[in-house]
């Protein structure tokens, strides 16, 4: 027994060191990528100018740039970088949360159809030209539709307190098809301007970023990202299953309601401004789990960081690899994400003989 105690005393700091190291690494990479993304593009802004302008705005010396670079930086680049941060953080965290709530490593907003559910709300809003809530209208609609979809998927794919992978994915297939049909109906009735707007939006892109959009997403993303870590320990317990978690004192029903709402908040925030950007919420938590274990106290914040990093870097790539043309970001993440998803399925099959 005494050796076991000693072993544990040695092991725990090691894991903690590793998670600290990963968190620090992710943060550093994120800052670096954000700076690069702010500087690189059709109009290059050197790092020195960038910092000078930022210092000037913050009232810490520095100097303003010429009219054009100053405007490019503050009205085009920065809102886009900040939006990528928010959307990526939301998607990464939503993926990790959803996997925890469903007790299933394949749950992801896009895979199970929540993103397309949110998209129905957003498309309805665009096509019908609704703007009752100003710039928040699309987000609010996406949120309402997303919430409805999460609860529907959840209710349909559970039986006996568990969610089997096959049922979950098939439910996702059905929900995606249904949402696609709804979007089709809206497109059928829309005029050509709305159609091209919706089509482009559906591919997933941050090209239309403005400070207004940043503000529209911010409260949703911030609320979701703030609430999620409070449930980290209880999500760990939920991995034991619903009954055992309850036997350990977790109010499972309440936690599930709260967290599903949080997932819908985060996904809707992301979908409303950027369209469907898939696989971020799948790939990022998976990689983090592989290197640092499945504990949610690390996984939830780190997935937000990692998601933000992937999206800032992805968006930088999307607008620079095919210059002067710009790839839709959702297309890029799907191009990289789907093979990863496939590899994951293969690996699980060979290791444990697949999912029941």
């Amino acid at each position: 027994m005494s050796t076991a105690v000693r072993e544990k005393a040695v092991r725990l700091p090691k894991v903690r060191n590793r998670t600290t190291l990963i968190t620090a690494g992710l943060t550093a990479a994120l800052v670096l990528c954000a700076l690069l993304a702010a500087g690189i593009g059709a109009y290059r802004i050197p790092l020195g100018d960038l910092l000078a302008s930022a210092a000037h705005r913050a009232g810490l010396g520095g100097h303003a740039l010429d009219r054009v670079p100053e405007s490019v930086l503050w009205n085009v680049r920065l809102p886009r970088v900040v939006l990528a941060l928010l959307v990526g953080g939301s998607l990464g965290c939503a993926g990790a949360l959803m996997q925890g709530v469903f007790g299933n490593p394949l749950a992801e907003p896009a895979v199970i159809g929540v993103s397309s559910g949110g998209a129905v709300g957003a498309v309805a809003c665009i096509v019908l030209g609704l703007d009752a809530l100003g710039s928040w209208t699309v987000t609010a609609f996406a949120f309402a539709a997303g919430l409805l979809t999460v609860f529907a998927v959840y209710a349909m794919s559970r039986s006996g307190g568990r969610t089997e992978v096959v049922t979950l994915i098939l439910t996702g297939v059905a929900v995606n098809a249904f949402c696609g049909a709804l979007i089709g109906i809206f497109l059928f009735t829309a005029d050509s301007a709305a159609i091209s707007q919706v089509t482009f939006w559906q591919l997933g892109s941050l090209a239309q970023a403005t400070w207004g959009k940043v503000l529209a997403v911010l409260p949703f993303a911030a609320a979701g990202l703030a609430v999620a870590p409070l449930y980290a320990r209880r999500l760990d317990l939920l991995a034991l299953g619903e009954r055992p978690a309850r036997h350990l004192g977790v109010d499972v029903e309440r936690m599930r309601l709260v967290l599903i709402t949080v997932v819908a908040l985060l996904t809707a925030a992301a979908v409303a401004v950027s369209g469907i950007i898939g696989f971020v919420g799948l790939v990022v938590p998976h990689l983090l789990r592989m290197v640092a274990g499945p504990g949610h106290r690390f996984l939830l914040p780190a997935s937000a960081l990692g998601g933000a990093l992937v999206l800032v870097a992805g968006d930088l790539a999307a607008r620079t690899v095919a210059e002067p043309a710009e790839l839709p970001l959702g297309v890029l993440t799907a191009l990289i994400g789907s093979p990863f998803f496939f590899w994951l399925l293969r690996r699980t099959r060979t290791r444990q003989g697949g999912w029941a």
């Binding site: 076991a4 005393a9 760990d236 036997h247 350990l248 004192g249 504990g295």
Partner: protein, 272 residues
């Protein structure tokens, strides 16, 4: 720092004091009577074996005792208080349940799984001894050797022991064990029941579902025999484990012999 409500640590019950009682419990699911008049009680310091053929309602009764299922009729009392008056957090400091099959959605290391058993005590004075309790529980179940390995990579028997260690680490005065020996070899079956006995000796109440009647005879203080969702016998080992009663309940002729050395009943199916 987060503020927490003041959390009570339940007092250790006196030996012999009644911990839990279920009186004439009925439960109907999908038109089928899973329980139809099942009664069981457990006092501090005793091991009660819950026996009966497949489908007799042993696991169902255990989940009613744990507060998972609310009976349609009858009453379950914990420390004399109706079970539905307890919140999940309070209940978690009073009773622990070992489920039949241990599953885990993510590959947590075995040691981390055992540590999950300490969750109900977070924020109480008892949290100070978390590390010791976890180490003791793993030592008692001989699972310390694979503390670092992912739970999902363990063999069935290893998982069962880790799951038991988690339940022991919860340190509740009442233990409900659903077939804790099912996945285990002979040596570890004995180990698990010795652990149950040790917990009873320390003043806890233990209810254990078993299929091996001789194992129950050797380790239980009292036996509750279920058939068709109802309690058909409740008493000391020697009174309940009689050949005519068991033959009738199990629908197979059974013989009960005293062990040549210890005199403890051995229950064997009659074979040609």
């Amino acid at each position: 720092m987060r503020l927490r409500r003041h959390q009570e640590i339940p007092e250790r019950p006196l030996p012999g004091a009644e911990l839990l009682s279920a009186e004439a419990v009925r439960l109907t699911v999908g038109g089928r009577d899973l329980l139809a008049g099942a009664s069981v009680r457990v006092a501090a310091g005793e091991v009660v074996a819950l026996l009966g053929p497949n489908g007799a309602g042993k696991s169902t009764l255990l989940s009613v005792l744990a507060g998972d299922a609310v009976p349609a009729a009858g009453e379950v009392r914990l420390h004399g208080r109706p079970l539905d008056g307890y919140g999940p957090a309070e209940l978690a400091r009073h009773r622990a349940l070992l489920p039949q099959a241990a599953a885990l959605s993510f590959p947590f290391p075995a040691g981390e799984v055992v540590r999950m058993g300490r969750a109900p005590w977070t924020g109480t004075a008892a949290a100070a001894e978390d590390e010791t309790v976890v180490a003791e529980a793993m030592a008692a179940t001989e699972s310390a050797a694979f503390a670092e390995r992912p739970f999902t990579a363990l063999s069935g028997g290893e998982r069962a022991r880790v799951a038991l260690a988690r339940v022991l680490a919860q340190r509740t005065p009442l233990l409900l064990l659903d077939e804790p020996t099912a996945a285990l070899d002979l040596r570890h079956q004995e180990l698990v029941l010795r652990v149950a006995r040790a917990r009873a000796a320390a003043g806890d109440g233990v209810v254990v579902v078993l299929h091996d009647l001789s194992l129950a005879a050797a380790y239980a203080d009292r036996v509750v025999l279920l058939a068709g969702g109802a309690t058909v016998a409740d008493g000391p080992v020697a009174e309940v484990l009689r050949a005519p009663l068991l033959s009738e309940v199990y629908g197979h002729p059974v013989e009960v012999l005293p062990h040549p050395r210890t005199g403890v009943p051995l229950v064997l199916p009659e074979r040609d």
